[in-house]
Amino acid sequence: MLPPNPSEAALPFSDRSKFLFPVLFWVCFAAAFVGSWQLAQVQPGLLFEAEGRRNMAKFVTGMFPPELSPDFLRFLVVPLFETIQISVMGTVLAIAIGFPLGLLGTASLAYTGILNDLEIAGSRARRFARTLPYVLARSVLSVFRCIPEFVWAFMFVRAVGLGPFTGVLAIGVSYGGMLGKVYSEILENLETQPSEALQATGASRWKILVYGMLPQALPQLVSYTLYRWECAVRASAILGFIGAGGLGQQIELSMRMFNFHEVVTLVLILFLLVAAVDFLSARARKAVG
């Protein structure tokens, strides 16, 4: 018997289903878009009504000229350093939380793969003892990072009062959750061959971690931590709005006083700060790579 003509053979998708999927997709997309438009009360017209136009004009004209008097700038030195220090201390706290929890939450160290095959095979109790800390660490990390730093800040304001320390705690906890998760994923995705060879010399898991895994992962770990520090600089400015000090608090005050020319100066300083941090971390990444 001759084989059927390949061009007539049944293909995984017939022409009809090829047509159906895109149509369904676009219908769903349109429905979601219209629904969101209404629910989010999108009214572009408001921006162009007389009232809106007047307020915008007031805001924009009020921005010029920016406030650059020496007194004002001198006054900003302290909030500027406060913002930097909140971001640095927040990131340090995040590392202190994220690194140990991230190690506990690394599956290839805890219970899977070549490093654990002989240790836990054939015993449910040993497997459970290895899995439990992993699950706990992963859960804690996910609670830490799923609550936004803003919400953490509101909680810590109750505990330690207004001030920079609230910002440090909020950034430390929520970023600790993010760092821990990403650290564990970086470690899990490393090549396993060097670890296998180190294990074959009779090394324990912790020695393999220190001697093989961390040196391999170092550029990625440093790079992601620096990226988080950049985010922390921006976050510490935002947290100032709810009383955590720093540049954000000044922006909020100036806004409330309708001193838009001060706001411009503050935003410019924030922009320069973030750009400087960006530059610094790029240099640091290059040095480690």
Binding site: E196, A203, Y211, P215
Partner: protein, 282 residues
């Protein structure tokens, strides 16, 4: 355990079996005995289970059934510190050399001591290796012919040089047995010859046992007094090179010995691997 039982075989395997995921049988009921200071080559087609056998012998993967004695000790159920103590006595050389690419050569060579070091010692050595360790690493690198690479970054070396670093690591580990899994598959034939000879000579000089998986039949026949043919997770033959005929090799790679018919690539079967590196036979 190693000094007292000199009469004991280094390896004794009884019905050693490894099944992956409950379905894939990689090593299937192997009975084998390997004595102290013996040099054994294991040859066979890809997918024969040689690498799994290697990983069973260096205690990386757990056996599914059967028993395994190392120097007279049943190691089937070892774990923790006692498992690591046995692993320290077995040096491994891999196909992909398995070095830590971002570390300097000196650290990769000293990794042979990792099993013997404490964790703080390991950290301190990474920060700044001790003078006597550096001298030992230099000595090991001299034995494999690349002492000048001591402070080079490992990922900047060529494939052959990295394999030499891996051998220097085993020298520092100073094990009783050296296992090598296709150590020359990723280097060119002339280098391959040199690296196999290096391992064989080192084992002769220090009275170590050597078990090497090899892709090249020529190298196995040229350097090893005992050659094991391995196929479908089983030992097909186990004899000296003089007793190994071309027909036996053709059968090993074609699969006629175990009665498995060859469905794919009859060309490969007609031409045994022996002919790939004819120069080395002279």
């Amino acid at each position: 355990m190693w000094s007292e039982g000199a009469a004991e075989p280094v390896y004794r395997l009884e019905g050693l079996t490894k099944v992956f995921n409950g379905t894939l049988t990689a090593v299937n009921g192997v009975d084998l005995q390997i004595n102290r200071a013996e040099k054994v080559a294991v040859i066979g087609p890809s997918g024969a289970g040689k690498t799994t056998l290697f990983r069973l012998l260096n205690l990386t993967v757990r056996l599914t059934s059967g028993r395994l004695w190392i120097a007279g000790r049943d190691v089937s159920d070892l774990r923790g510190a006692r498992l690591r103590e046995v692993r320290r006595k077995i040096g491994s050389v891999y196909q992909q050399h398995n070095l830590v690419p971002r570390l300097r050569v000196v650290h990769n060579v000293l990794a042979g001591r990792l099993g013997a070091w404490s964790l703080p010692q390991a950290v301190r050595s990474l920060v700044r290796p001790r003078g006597e360790d550096v001298r030992a690493a230099y000595h090991a690198l001299s034995q494999v012919g690349i002492p000048e690479k001591l402070w080079a970054r490992t990922d900047e070396l060529s494939g052959g040089q990295q394999q030499r670093v891996a051998i220097a690591r085993v020298l520092l580990q100073n094990p009783e047995v050296i296992l090598a899994d296709e150590p020359v598959s990723s280097v060119d034939p002339t280098l391959a010859h040199g690296i196999v000879r290096l391992l064989v000579d080192l084992c002769s000089a220090f009275h170590k046992t050597l078990v090497m998986n090899l892709h090249s039949v020529d190298l196995a026949l040229a350097f090893f007094p005992r050659v094991i043919g391995f196929r479908d997770g089983q030992v097909v033959f186990d004899r000296s090179p003089a007793e190994i005929s071309d027909d036996l090799l053709t059968d090993l790679y074609a699969g006629r010995i175990t009665g498995v018919s060859v469905e794919e690539s009859p060309d490969a079967a007609a031409e045994p691997v022996r002919s790939c590196t004819p120069i080395l036979r002279s």
